[in-house]
């Protein structure tokens, strides 16, 4: 290729095709709708096994919650001085995972990252289910769940008003708003694709349901104009939400006067960590699914590489925050600050701290190498590492800051009981039940959007 007297390499100039295999509009529709159009009796065996497992785990979760409400939170190992433990760890873990979806649909949309179209639907669904899992934990950790309405600012005769200066209340608003807007965003994006399914399915009941939820979409020019306007507005509204939700979650800790919690870098550091864990979870879920659902040409190695790059960037930001926190703990000259951090790294929970550092800071650095970040196996393994590391991050922040408080006589090593793992595994049951239903009955790829970015497509969107 020539420009004036310059010779340009083709691969320098050209942007890679996002969709491979020469797929056309119709191929995409066929590929994506296949799962949803499979008749009920012909459901894939693998899906059935997975669903049975997930649903049983969900049942266990529901029973465990019932027992918790009956018996009280004493069934957990939480005890003085560690009053917050796995319950809040799980809450923050799930909210964090819920970040990638909205980042992909809102921020990457505003940054014109067209590769987002292959993964946004999937990630948004993940976001919604993860936020549902997250919301359960603060709900059940209050113990007396029948008075949980004290949280809400409802006028009542008892003169009970929630404390607006409490970050726990901000949390309720922040996570609630995030959930609502993410759900709207996901649903608005789904409308044209639901209409496609409505027009294709043979089963009458399915036709009725898809028809109901596609809101009379006929794909006219006028519909598209409104749709794109709505999409842009929702993207602009969700962008600050991506930052605000996890910032508010970080305030739960950072507003306290506790060393290890009270530090100003928490809001942006939590946001970076959330995006980090969210992308890792997208990888964990996407890599097997693209094989099983035959989506290799739609979610290509390029998409996987891009996600790995984001994991590397956000993982390094998290590493920066760990480093600055440690430095400031020393620089502050405050003995309590330095004690907390030395205790974290070399105290009784050193194993948890170093698990966190290894999984969040060290192993993601492997993605500096192109060979590794374009390897499916390596990506999958490292994404699991990040998931583990990010769970441990919250564990380290919460438990190591609490278990040795200001009075050495009350120090107590926190040990979980049998119920803690049951609740964590149970929440995965809830997550996967929803997720498998989504994969089975809804289009997992935003068909309308990727049709806009295929090589012969027009540039109408994304």
């Amino acid at each position: 290729m020539h420009r004036g007297d310059l010779v340009l390499d083709e691969d320098l100039v050209k942007r890679e095709d996002l969709i491979r295999g020469g797929l056309g509009y119709h191929d995409i529709t066929e590929k994506v709708c296949k799962m949803a159009e499979t008749p009920f009796l012909e459901t894939h065996k693998g899906w059935l096994v997975g669903f049975a497992l997930a649903a049983s785990t969900l049942t266990m979760f529901v029973l465990a919650i019932g027992y918790l409400i009956w018996e009280g939170i004493g069934i957990w190992g939480n005890t003085s001085p560690t009053f917050w433990a796995w319950d809040i760890v799980n809450f923050v873990f799930w909210v964090g995972i819920g970040h990638a979806g909205t980042l992909i649909s809102a921020i990457l949309f505003l940054f014109r990252q067209k590769w987002r179209t292959s993964i946004n639907r999937y990630a948004e669904a993940m976001t919604i289910f993860a936020v549902i899992c997250a919301l359960i934990f603060p709900g059940i950790h209050v113990g007396r769940i029948w008075v949980v309405y004290f949280f809400f600012p409802i006028p009542n005769q008892m003169d009970m008003w929630p404390n607006f200066r409490s970050p726990l209340l901000w949390d309720l608003f922040a996570v609630g708003t995030y959930f609502t807007v993410s759900l709207l965003f996901w649903y608005v994006g789904l409308v044209p694709d639901l209409a496609t399914l409505r027009d294709r399915v043979k089963n009458k009941a399915a036709k009725l349901l898809y028809g109901l939820f596609s809101l009379g979409w006929r794909g006219s020019m006028r519909h598209w104009v409104h749709y794109e306007r709505a999409y842009l507005l929702l993207a602009a509204l969700s962008t600050p939400l991506v930052l605000s939700v996890h910032s508010v979650v970080s305030f739960d800790f950072a507003t306290a006067q506790l060393p290890g919690w009270h530090t100003t870098i928490f809001p942006p550091y939590f946001v970076a960590g959330a995006i980090f864990s969210g992308f890792a979870m997208v990888q964990t879920l996407m890599l097997p699914a693209r094989l099983w659902l035959g989506l290799k040409d739609i979610v290509t190695i390029k998409h996987i590489e891009n996600m790995n790059k984001i994991i590397l960037v956000t993982g390094s930001m998290v590493g920066y925050a760990y480093g600055i926190e440690f430095f400031m703990a020393w620089y502050s000259g405050n003995e309590y600050e330095s004690f907390t951090f030395i205790n974290r790294a070399f105290g009784p929970y050193a194993w948890a701290y170093w698990t966190m550092v290894t999984c969040n800071v060290i192993t993601p650095q492997l993605f500096w190498f192109k060979k590794l970040r374009t390897s499916i196996t390596v990506s999958f393994i490292l994404s699991i590492f990040v998931n583990i590391g990010m769970w441990f991050e919250r564990f380290v922040i919460i438990v190591t800051s609490l278990n040795r408080d200001f009075l050495p006589s009350s120090w107590h090593y926190f040990t979980p009981r049998i119920w803690e793992p049951i609740f964590l595994i149970g929440s995965f049951g809830l997550f996967f039940t929803f997720f498998l239903l989504f994969v089975r009955y809804l289009p997992v790829i935003a068909m309308a959007e990727i049709k806009g970015v295929i090589a012969n497509g027009d540039d109408h969107h994304a």
Binding site: L8, V13, L243, I265, Y320, Y331
Partner: protein, 371 residues
């Protein structure tokens, strides 16, 4: 002619600052530090802009990149301008008065001591000069040989890591340690947000005076970034303030307490409007970003508001109750350093191609549409 005017302004500015120096050397040094850091944030902002463009393989920004490169290439000038701080820093930083340190500051001596302070400052300038010169030279080389692009892409990764660490620690050293008991882990991020705003505002203004074939679409995108980072600055500033206000621990509130007395409270309140609400509403609209006059006003506003932010970070630590009386000398220093920066900027720009004509994404940038 322009250069003579700028040199005249530099002499005028630094000359008037020198009058202040003769009247009260210590107080005037704070003014110098303010001016130095304020103007330095422009090349630093340009530098991170350039690095991000390479890192993300951006297409839209090719036409505006060279201006940012000219901006960042002025960094060596600041190594020279740092000398007064290096030589007279003893008067600026309370931790350097080794004879009257309290227990807390004695603990910090391994980090906060003049020798190590100088070594670190030298390291920052080595890193910044290294990044600026390497990326500037390679970018010029790219004009004739597009394959250089690959090197620019590759090394922008290391560049951004070094940039993040060096600017964070520079902000700890030169700004945070002015109140040596005080600390905040997010301070580096706050400083970075300011740098990026200064760089973007300066670039946008400089671009308006060139003949680069830009479309309103390019200003529109620069405006979006300015808008986004105005919000980001406010977000970081709020997070820091809110957390310290809420916990109300004396050694942490010291920073804000100082800025709520001696007339500083009016500046503290003003920042909320000058650096957030006003720019937020001025450049929010699409029309404002695409209209050169309104956008130029917005950029100029953001740049001045950013200088006010640095003034607010530095000056209250001087302990001067009648700081406003000294304001003309402080502004003299700012004018002088700004003029010197402009001389260097124009000198670097002279005779160079205004666009990276070898960039493989040039065509994409020329055809760029923002809808």
């Amino acid at each position: 002619m322009q250069r003579l005017v700028l040199l005249g302004l530099a002499i005028l500015g630094l000359g008037s600052w020198f009058l202040g120096f003769q009247a009260d050397p210590t107080r005037s040094l704070y003014g110098y530090l303010f001016a130095f850091v304020s103007v330095l944030t422009i090349p630093l902002g340009c530098m991170v802009f350039v690095l991000i463009q390479h890192l993300t393989r951006a297409g839209w920004s090719v036409l505006v990149r060279r201006i940012a490169e000219f901006g960042m290439a002025t960094v060596p000038l600041f190594a020279v301008l740092f000398l007064p701080i290096a030589l007279l820093g003893h008067d600026l930083f309370p931790w350097s008065h080794v004879e009257h340190l309290d227990e807390n500051l004695i603990k910090k001596m391994p980090y906060l001591n003049m020798k190590f302070f100088m070594i670190r400052a030298a390291m920052y300038f080595v890193v910044w000069t290294g990044i600026a010169v390497w990326f500037y030279r390679k970018s010029l080389a790219q004009d004739a040989n597009p394959n250089v692009t690959r090197q620019l892409w590759k090394w922008s990764t290391l560049g951004i890591v070094l940039f993040a660490l060096s600017t964070s620690f520079a902000s700890f050293d030169w700004l945070m340690s002015l109140q040596p008991h005080w600390y905040s882990t997010v301070f580096g991020v706050y400083f970075f947000a300011g740098c990026f705003l200064a760089g973007l505002a300066f670039m946008s203004l400089a671009l308006m005076r060139t003949s680069i074939p830009l479309k309103p679409d390019h200003y529109h995108d620069l405006g979006k970034l300015l808008f986004g980072f105005t919000v980001f600055w406010a977000y970081i500033g709020f997070s820091q303030f809110m957390l310290y206000w809420y916990a109300n621990i004396p050694e942490e509130t010291e920073f804000y307490m100082r800025r709520l007395e001696d007339g500083w409270q009016s500046i503290s309140w003003a920042l909320l409007f000058t650096n957030f609400f006003i720019p937020f509403f001025v450049i929010m609209s699409r029309h404002a970003k695409r209209n050169k006059k309104v956008f130029a006003f917005g950029c100029l506003w953001i740049l001045c508001a950013h200088f006010l932010d640095i003034y607010w970070l530095v000056m209250p630590t001087s302990g001067d109750e009648h700081w406003i009386n000294f304001l003309p000398y402080d502004l003299g220093a700012l004018l002088g350093i700004l003029a010197l920066f402009m001389v260097a900027f124009n000198w670097i720009m002279k005779g160079q191609s205004m666009i990276p004509k070898g960039d493989p994404r040039l065509k994409e940038s020329l055809a760029f549409e923002n809808y």
